[in-house]
């Protein structure tokens, strides 16, 4: 059943370092395409800075739109890192090995991208210094900690710091490996980054303990970050936003979209870097099973949220629910959310045969993220554009070209950074893979053969 081959260490190292040492055609195409979109993104940002937020499609009712939706989306994606690395590491799920680095790095870059959006969507981004950094001590004016927008950056910055540390700690052995396999400027760079890692027993021990500790600490962040992001909305009094269920709902939604994004990434890595031997069907199988659980939980929360709104019997809530279900374009979005986010992928994932079909997994994971993006839009925007009883002031929101560019560009930004990162650091942790090779065993559980690990220390 397992298509795994046992390779020699040299072969593994050579294979896994290939993305760093060689630049394939695919790679160049990726750089050029993503780079072009990224240029458009930067241009759009510059355009918006120059002319003001007026170039977007935001209006007097819908003061938040695509950019905030996108912010929530990328924060959601970032939850893949903790889920895969921290939780699966702590629970010692063996199948995590080839995907941890990709997930963590994606966390890092999607967090950075996400953080960009609340800043560029402000009216005067050059004044955001007031926001996070209280430099005006003598005037006695401070950021207002009652505001979810102040909690938000601190939570996200904590998460970002933790993630960067985590990525770094787990990469140190690979830096050492790269140092030994490279010459010239790269050698110098990796020498510094490796922090003198020589593979001594003590160094390994410390590296692994640090990894575990960070993973444990990150668990709390896992819950807090997206809860706080949900509080950006739930703290307000706005109908349908004003809900206590939003925090866990957002967290589970984040995991749903994040883990799906990891699937997308795994498939892409497999094709791009020819990692067929390292990112294998059983990994997709395992992650697919995880997704069935996560997706279903998310659906449960989704329905719960709707029921809460209906039970509340508030006219303003009802009006927005009516709008969400019956007024263009929200029924379409809802169809996206349900069909793409749940009803196509999850039944497919229920079958082992489909879980092992990488193409199918790739497309379903993309579907989930389309659905989840639509879900954020469906949650955030109608609540604004039909806020409260002032039917006279209910105004529709249509995103402008600048916002669309910004959203598309944010995907390019993350992709570009990931590609760039893969040129510096192997996208699959070499040491982890080697460790897995050395420690792996397969155990029989009932009719199944599952990978297991026998640790010696």
């Amino acid at each position: 059943m397992q298509e795994r081959h046992s390779f020699s260490d040299e072969r593994i190292i050579r294979d896994l370092l290939r993305p760093v040492t060689q630049t394939s055609m695919m790679n160049w195409v990726g750089f050029i395409v993503l780079g072009t979109i990224l240029t458009a993104f930067l241009f759009a940002v510059g355009w918006m800075f120059y002319w003001g937020v007026g170039v977007t499609g935001l209006n007097r009712a819908a003061f938040w739109g695509f950019m905030i939706v996108n912010f929530v989306f990328w924060i959601g994606i970032s939850h893949a890192g903790v889920m895969i690395s921290a939780i699966l590491r702590l629970t010692q799920a063996e199948w995590r090995r080839p995907v941890t680095r990709a997930a963590e790095v994606m966390t890092m870059f999607s967090l950075m991208t996400a953080l960009l959006f609340p800043v560029i969507h402000t009216g005067r981004p050059w004044r955001t210094l007031y926001w996070a950094f209280p430099y005006d001590f003598w005037r006695g004016i401070w950021p207002d900690v009652r505001s979810a927008l102040v909690m938000d950056p601190s939570a996200i910055m904590t998460y970002l710091t933790g993630t960067i540390l985590f990525v770094y700690i787990t990469t140190i052995p690979d830096f050492a490996l790269l140092r030994d396999h490279s010459t010239g400027w790269r050698h110098g760079l990796y020498r510094v980054l490796a922090l003198g890692f020589k593979g001594e027993e003590r160094q390994w021990k410390m590296q692994i303990i640090t990894g575990f500790l960070l993973a444990a600490i990150m668990l709390s962040i896992f819950v807090s970050v997206h809860s706080i992001v949900s509080w950006d909305f739930a703290f307000s009094l706005d109908p349908v936003w004003h809900s206590t269920v939003w925090a866990p709902y957002f967290v589970i939604g984040a995991v749903h979209s994040g883990v799906s994004a990891v699937v997308t990434l795994m498939a892409l890595m497999r094709w791009m870097f020819k990692f067929d031997n390292y990112i294998r069907h059983e990994h997709f199988d395992a992650i697919g099973r995880l997704l069935v659980v996560v997706g279903t939980t998310w659906m449960w929360f989704f329905l719960l949220d709707i029921f809460f709104d209906l039970w509340r019997q508030d006219p303003a809530d009802d009006a927005i629910m009516h709008m969400r279900f019956f007024e263009w374009p929200y029924p379409l979005l809802l169809a996206f959310v349900w069909i793409f986010g749940y009803f196509i992928p999850v039944p497919i994932w229920a079958f082992r045969r489909f879980r092992r079909n990488i193409k199918l997994m790739f497309w379903t994971s993309i579907m989930v993220n389309i659905g989840m993006w639509a879900e954020r839009y469906w949650l955030v925007v109608p609540g604004l554009q039909a806020k409260y009883q002032w039917t006279f002031s209910w105004l529709p929101y249509r995103p402008g070209p600048v916002e669309i560019t910004l959203v598309v560009g944010s995907f390019a930004l993350v992709g570009f950074l990931l590609l760039l990162f893969a040129k510096l650091v192997p996208p699959v942790p070499v040491w982890d893979e080697l460790e897995g090779q050395h420690l792996a065993a397969e155990i029989q559980v009932g009719k199944r053969t599952v990978p297991a690990i026998v640790r010696e220390f």
Binding site: F63, W64, G123, K387, Y388, T391
Partner: protein
């Protein structure tokens, strides 16, 4: 003892003529709402007049309500601002500090009366029209929120004069907002709610028609509306208080 500014708007007097809207625009340097601004749904009217239909043709009614900022005592817009750009003055006015504002628009998202406005564009006047601008009011740049201030420049000016005039308290009628001053039907009355002699306090204390819009949110607005009277309205029809 500082005053507590408040407003009473009598919906039975209001005819929807919108003199208040233009008066406010003239007083507070509100940029001209061009056609493009309306098409973008970004018109700025610190006080606006909303029109609601009621009934079906031919028994249809149009009803008007002027909506300025409510200056809530527990304003939902205030705690959400990350930089304290909006805050409550001791005199009960919900102020926007333009210098401080960075434009997250969170306050507008959390304002349920739709009375906070964002400068999506840099406001522009033809050069000759700039001569009309009120020098006592800051012209807001793009990227900041703005809102009704109860004509704070008039209040400050009157308070300064009262201070210079032997530090006496303000008299009722000494300060008036531009909208109340213009209103031809005298539907809008502005004044100190804590001064029992003031017209606004007397109306507020004696009326049987008072109600506050979205009072169920518990924000304690400083604007009291007087219910519209319609002899043909059902006794408990649309007038049901939530």
């Amino acid at each position: 003892m500082s005053p507590r500014w408040g407003m009473v708007i009598d919906l039975d007097r209001c005819t929807g003529c919108q003199a208040c809207v233009v008066a406010c625009q003239a007083e507070n340097n509100i940029p001209i709402n061009t056609e493009a601004v309306y098409l973008q749904n970004r018109a700025i009217e610190w006080i606006r007049v909303e029109r609601y239909w009621d009934g079906e043709y031919p028994n249809i009614k149009a009803r008007y309500i002027p909506v300025p900022c409510m200056h809530c005592s527990n304003a939902p817009c205030e705690p959400v601002c990350p930089v304290y750009a909006t805050y409550h003055t001791p005199e009960g006015i919900n102020m926007q500090v333009y210098n401080r504002c960075i434009g997250t628009r969170y306050c507008a998202v959390n304002c349920h009366w739709h009375v906070r406005f964002f400068n999506f564009w840099q406001p522009k006047w033809p050069e000759s029209l700039q001569n009309q601008l009120n020098p006592n009011v800051t012209v807001r740049s793009r990227g900041v929120m703005e809102k009704c201030t109860f004509c704070i420049q008039r209040i400050n000016h009157a308070e300064q004069n009262a201070r210079l005039d032997g530090n006496r308290p303000l008299r009722d009628g000494e300060v008036n907002t531009a909208c109340a001053q213009a209103c031809p039907t005298r539907a809008i009355v502005f004044g100190d709610l804590d001064d029992p002699e003031s017209q606004v306090a007397q109306i507020a204390n004696t009326t049987t028609r008072g109600y506050k819009v979205l009072a169920e949110l518990g924000t304690d607005p400083a604007v009291l509306y007087l219910k519209k009277i319609d002899p043909e309205a059902p006794a408990h029809g649309g007038a049901e208080s939530a």
